[in-house]
Amino acid sequence: MRGDGSAFAAIVAGTSTRLYRLAVRMTGDRDEADDVLQNAFIRAHRALCDGGWDGRGKLETWLYRIVVNTALNARRQRRRRSQLVDTRGEAPPAQEAQAELAQLMALVRELPAEQRTVLVLKELEGMTANEIAEVLACSEGAVEQRLVRARATLRKRWQT
């Protein structure tokens, strides 16, 4: 892989759509997802050049982990930059269904990072608990627990 630009281009071509969708779902904002995906691929490229990927496990799982971590870092930095309410990507909904969607997205954004990540990977990406555990480098039990907590929090806060 070292120095092989075409191999990396093939990786980007084969994974960028799924990883971008994940970035959009993690950030809730296309502009931010653009930055997340670009930074994630730069980190992956550097790691591959430095031999930072040990070749164990699936490459895509490793890339998912990088995107998740990059998205979480971006969110932390954004919060540090501004404590004001961030309304990017939250266009005022015109219809009731859109209003519910907007409400859900706002609630999900308020969840603790680990719960939000698990919810996005499970409910939106359709990953199994085992796959999520691999991406997040934690146990399946921890994944299930975070999911239960995330759902409980959503139920409690839903239109209260």
Binding site: R21, L37, D50, L104, W158
Partner: protein, 93 residues
């Protein structure tokens, strides 16, 4: 409709709304440029990283082996001293 059902419905709507998201051609171009321009490590850097990676476990193993040898040597000296003391006691008139 109950709260949980509405949450499920909203999650489904969110999934559907984002299913077709794809990176723009401009973004892919930016990524290609950024990774092509990224400095690749020199052979010396690559070698240093490889040596460090290979050497790290060996270094740890060496440290453990040295500690064990030191421990064994200390025990041997203690035992030698004990044996000498016993011999002196036995041989002494």
């Amino acid at each position: 409709m109950s709260g949980p059902d509405r949450i499920e419905e909203a999650l489904g709507a969110w999934r559907a709304a984002t299913d077709d998201e794809a990176p723009s051609a401009a973004l892919l171009e930016r990524i290609a440029r950024a990774t092509a321009e990224a400095p690749t490590p020199s052979p010396a850097q690559t070698l240093a990283v490889a040596v460090w990676r290979l050497g790290r476990p060996a270094l740890a193993g060496f440290a453990v082996a040295a500690a064990l040898l030191l421990f064994a040597a200390t025990r041997s000296i203690d035992r030698l001293a004990d044996d000498a003391a016993t011999a002196i006691e036995v041989l002494a008139p």
